[in-house]
C-alpha cells in the first residue's frame, strides 16, 4: 500500500460566526497529483493555509508529511514546498542566487546546494541562464523556476496555488509535464487551478462548495458519477449548488 502523505479528519476553521472550512476529511497518497478545486470563496485558501502550518484549525485533526498540523506547524513548513500564485522569487537576484537563497533558508549545506542547483539548472535546460537576473526572464520561465525552487529541499509535498494563471498555452503544458515528472519521482503534488482542462490531468480531484468537500474521486469516476462529459461540467454542477456568497 502506498504511504499517506496528507491525512485530515473533520478539519474545521471558523472566523467568528463564519465557518470557512467545515469538517473536511481526505487523504493524499505519495506521488499523487491532487487537484483541489472550488469556486472563489469556497474555502480552498483557508484549508491550504492549515495544511501548510500557516493557520491553526478551530477543530479537527490532520497530518502532513507525518507531522501534526496542530502542534508541528513549524516542522511541516520544512518538509513542504510552496509556490504561490504571486511570483515570489527575487527579481534583483540571479537564477543561481535565488536558488542559493532558498536552499539557505531550508538549511541545505553548501555542497548540497551546489549539487541541487546544478541538477535543477540542467532539468530546466537553464545552465546558460545561471547568472541572469530573474527579473529579465520571460514569465513562463519564471513560473518554471519558481516550481523547481519550491522543490529545492526535496520536500515530500509541493503545494501549488494557481501556478499557471496568465501563462501562455504552450508554457502551461510544459509546466504540467514538469508536475508529471516530479510526481513520477514520488513527490506529492497538491494543486489549485481555475483551468478546468488541468483538472483532467490530476490523479484525483476534490471539489469544495461552501466550506465542504462535495466530491472527491478520479476525474474519470467524477465524470461517470455526474454523467458529465468534462470536469468543467462537473465543476459547474457542483459550484451552482453554492448557497453562501463569495
Amino acid at each position: 500500500m502506498k504511504d499517506t502523505v496528507i491525512s485530515v479528519h473533520e478539519l474545521t476553521k471558523r472566523f467568528g460566526r463564519f465557518t470557512a472550512v467545515d469538517r473536511i476529511s481526505f487523504e493524499v497518497k505519495r506521488g499523487e497529483i491532487f487537484g483541489f478545486l472550488g469556486a472563489n470563496g469556497a474555502g480552498k485558501t483557508t484549508a491550504m493555509r492549515m495544511l501548510c502550518g500557516l493557520s491553526y484549525p478551530t477543530s479537527g485533526r490532520g497530518t502532513v508529511a507525518g507531522f501534526d498540523i496542530r502542534s508541528e506547524g513549524e516542522r511541516i513548513k520544512r518538509h513542504i514546498g510552496y509556490m504561490s500564485q504571486r511570483f515570489s522569487l527575487y527579481n534583483e537576484l540571479t537564477v543561481f542566487e535565488n536558488m542559493n537563497f532558498f536552499a539557505g533558508i531550508y538549511g541545505l549545506s553548501r555542497q548540497e546546494t551546489a549539487r541541487r542547483a546544478g541538477e535543477l539548472l540542467e532539468r530546466l535546460d537553464f545552465a546558460s541562464e545561471r547568472n541572469t537576473l530573474v527579473g529579465a526572464l520571460p514569465l513562463g520561465w519564471k513560473q518554471k523556476l519558481s516550481f523547481v525552487i519550491a522543490s529545492i529541499h526535496r520536500p515530500e509535498v509541493v503545494f501549488l496555488d494557481e501556478p499557471t494563471g496568465g501563462v501562455d498555452p504552450l508554457t502551461r503544458r510544459q509546466f504540467w509535464e514538469m508536475i508529471y515528472e516530479e510526481a513520477d519521482k514520488g513527490t506529492t503534488i497538491f494543486v489549485t487551478t481555475h483551468y478546468m482542462d488541468e483538472a483532467e490531468y490530476c490523479s484525483r480531484v476534490s471539489i469544495m462548495v461552501d466550506g465542504r468537500i462535495k466530491a472527491l474521486d478520479t476525474p474519470e469516476e467524477l465524470k461517470k458519477g455526474f454523467k458529465a462529459g468534462s470536469m468543467d461540467e462537473v465543476f459547474g454542477m457542483l459550484a451552482r449548488q453554492a448557497r453562501r456568497g463569495e
Binding site: 520571460p138 496568465g166 504552450l170 478546468m196 483532467e200 468534462s230 456568497g245 463569495e246
Partner: protein, 299 residues
C-alpha cells in the same frame, strides 16, 4: 466611425518591447477580445487607449478622437476597468458609485438602468466597505463604476483573471447584455476558452498580434490534421507519441493529448506502433483556440 482604431502602435520600456507595431480595429457595438498570456502587452495597450500612457510610435483613435490630442474628451467617453482593483477600499459600495458619478458630473440615478444588470448583484451589500467585498463582488462594483457615466466604449483589462469557471461564465453573460445595449467593448483575458464569447478576437503574444478574426474564422486557420489520443497511462503516451513518424507535435489537452499530424502521419501506423499502450484510442478532432495559439506561436 470605428469605436477603436489602432495603427502601428509601439511602446518600449527600456530594453523591453511591450508593443511591436500593433494594429487592429474595434467596430461600433462590437465585443472584441484581446486574448493572450501575461506579458503580451495587453495592459500597455489599454493604458495607451485610456490616455494614461503615450505610445512611442503609431496612432490610436477612440470614437474617432486621437488619444494624444483629444485625451480630455476621450476620458469622459470611455469606461476603464484596470486589472488591479482600483476603487476606494474604505468607501462603501454606494459611496464608490456616487464618487465616480460625481467625478464624471452625472447623477447616478440617471444611469441606473444601464448599471442595474451588474449592480443588482451587489446592491444588497450597498453599505459594505469595498475592501471587505469578495473578489467577484469587487469586480462587479468596478464594472458598475466604469459604467456610471454611460460610456460609449468600455475597456476591461482581465476582468475574469483568478475568477472561478462558473463566475467567469456569468461575467461574460453580463458583457453580452451590455454589448446588446449598444456599448462597444474591448476586453482582455488570458483564458482562451473565453474567446468564443467575443464577436472578434486578436490573439496577442509577446508584444504583437498573431491574428485577428472572428473566433470561428481564427479556428479555420489551423490547417493541419489534428487528432485526440488517449491511453490508460497518459504520461507514457505523451513521450511515446512524440517518437512516432509524422507526429509534428503532441501536447496534453484536457482529457486527451492532441496530436498535430505532419505529412507522413498515418493513423494506422500510429495505433499499430503504440498498440502496447493499454486503452489506446485515436480520433480526429476539431481544433480549439489554444491549438491555434500554440501553432501561431511557433511560426
Amino acid at each position: 466611425m470605428k469605436a477603436v482604431e489602432v495603427n502601428d502602435v509601439s511602446k518600449r520600456f527600456g530594453k523591453v518591447e511591450a508593443l511591436r507595431s500593433v494594429s487592429f480595429e474595434v467596430e461600433r457595438g462590437e465585443l472584441f477580445g484581446l486574448i493572450g498570456p501575461d506579458g503580451a502587452g495587453k495592459t500597455t495597450l489599454f493604458r495607451i487607449l485610456a490616455t494614461l500612457l503615450e505610445a512611442d510610435g503609431g496612432t490610436a483613435l477612440v470614437d474617432g478622437m486621437d488619444v494624444c490630442r483629444d485625451y480630455t474628451s476621450i476620458r469622459s467617453r470611455v469606461g476603464y476597468m484596470p486589472g488591479r482593483f482600483s476603487l476606494y477600499q474604505d468607501l462603501t459600495v454606494e459611496e464608490n458609485l456616487a464618487f465616480f458619478a460625481a467625478l464624471f458630473g452625472v447623477d447616478a440615478r440617471d444611469s441606473y438602468s444601464l448599471v442595474a444588470p451588474v449592480y443588482r448583484h451587489i446592491e444588497p451589500f450597498a453599505k459594505r466597505r469595498a475592501g471587505r467585498l469578495s473578489g467577484g463582488m469587487k469586480q462587479k462594483l468596478a464594472l458598475s463604476c466604469a459604467l456610471i457615466h454611460r460610456p460609449s466604449v468600455l475597456f476591461l483589462d482581465e476582468p475574469t483573471t483568478g475568477v472561478d469557471a462558473l463566475s467567469r461564465g456569468e461575467f461574460w453573460d453580463m458583457l453580452t447584455d451590455l454589448k446588446n445595449s449598444g456599448i462597444s467593448i474591448l476586453v482582455s483575458t488570458p483564458y482562451m476558452d473565453e474567446a468564443s464569447r467575443c464577436d472578434r478576437i486578436a490573439l496577442c503574444n509577446d508584444g504583437g498580434i498573431l491574428g485577428t478574426d472572428s473566433p470561428v474564422r481564427i479556428l479555420q486557420r489551423f490547417d493541419s490534421p489534428l487528432y485526440a489520443a488517449r491511453a490508460d497511462d497518459m504520461f507514457a503516451l505523451l513521450g511515446a507519441a512524440r517518437k512516432v513518424r509524422g507526429v509534428e507535435r503532441c501536447y496534453p489537452f484536457g482529457q486527451s493529448h492532441h496530436i498535430v499530424a505532419g505529412r507522413d502521419f498515418s493513423a494506422e501506423e500510429f495505433t499499430r506502433e503504440l498498440s502496447w499502450l493499454e486503452g489506446l484510442c485515436l480520433e480526429p478532432v476539431k481544433p480549439a483556440i489554444e491549438d491555434v495559439f500554440i501553432k501561431l506561436m511557433q511560426k
